[in-house]
Amino acid sequence: MCLAIPGQIVELLDGDHHYAMVDVSGVRRKINIGLLKNEGTRLGDWVLLHVGFAMSKISEEQAVEQLRLLSMLGESDEAIEEIMGYQFDEEKKT
């Protein structure tokens, strides 16, 4: 039930009823983007899909930053210090 996967918006369909076409590894699926109507979705956005609905937009910056920090593990004490103090964006909206 928690199964949710990333997909990319490749076509916006019915604007009023919030349908879009999403691509997951070359497979295209019609999904509902109504739950993202406040933020708005654009072509090319990456979203998290669950039972045919887009639940959230995926932030590329957050993903890249997370991987960057992890790649610094084992590098140096300064790097460790930085990660030790890092608390992922509690106040900022994504």
Binding site: A4, H17, L35, M55, A63, S71, F88
Partner: protein
Amino acid sequence: MKKMSIGGVIIAMKYVDEFRDPELIRRTSEEIHRLVDPDCHYRFMEVCGGHTFSIFRFGLQNLLPANIELVHGPGCPVCVLPVGRMDDGLSIARQPDVIFTAFGDVMRVPGSQGTPLELRARGTDIRMIYSPLDALKIAMDHPERQVVLFAIGFETTAPSTALTLMRARELNVPNFYVFSNHVMILPAIRTILDSPDMRIDGFIGPGHVSTVIGVHPYELVTEHYGKPVVISGFEPLDLLQSILMLVKQMKEGRAQVENQYSRVVPWEGNIPALEVMNEVFEVRPFFEWRGLGVISQSALKLRPEFARWDAEVRFQVKGVRVTDSKAAQCGEVLKGVLKPHQCKWFGKECTPEHPIGALMVSSEGACAAYYHHVHLRQAIGE
């Protein structure tokens, strides 16, 4: 993002493959080993069934030091459904003209008189769907039948059911009904924490539920119970990083809510999702959970304005109560008191082919995970 080439076949699943990078996994695992206090025994509970699945799917326990124990919580919405509630659903399915629709996971869950698959084999019209919208479509394609959606899931899925109901109302679809079994995660976590036989040091928070409810609700755990919570993604790197963050918090004497899954989980949650849930659903005064007992304010039912589409109103559900057999220990496994292989029926009377409870058949059930991964290997001493 760079495409990965594996064995000559290029497979690039963005936002998935990067979080399975072997080098980063190795480093994170090493860091955990470096950071743990060798004299401590850490017990972390993952609440969400999807996390249980990932932990076993990727063999993550092998990458953790021996003194970190992962305890599997009641985060499988199919597993916590009492047998009586399943029976109620299946009695609706057997009504004339009903098309009963449910997600794949439900199809092999045993009711008192068999699983939905077995009933289907004997002629009951039960259909597997992948989205609540599929059920609505079936209703529109078959105006002469009564189509019932067996709605299951935590807050991750409830907004989708809600939106589907709003669409049904907008299109005035008269033959679509929802049998709501949506439950809420925080009441379950609270029940675990209140349980005297539980000792949990920290929680791996449910990643996808949190995209809806946000991060704030977990402050109940940190402030009232003083345990750290790290909301986690589902890839191996996500889970390892979350465990690293929990160990760090404990080392520093902190008990805070941290959002490891920040690329997807917004701090405030998904406002439109919360709004549609609020428009369609209200909280039941109490609801029975398998293994956890009756929990107040822990489940959702349709508001009176949506009574027209409420299967419990239309079909006068009896509210059968079926007590679990004393020998089957589904409840204790759900609470994390027992590991699956400690249940005396595990692997003997209870297997995925003839399950006693949903834990053995749901893809998110702890017993199924154990059976397919740990149990078979332990039996041969790997």
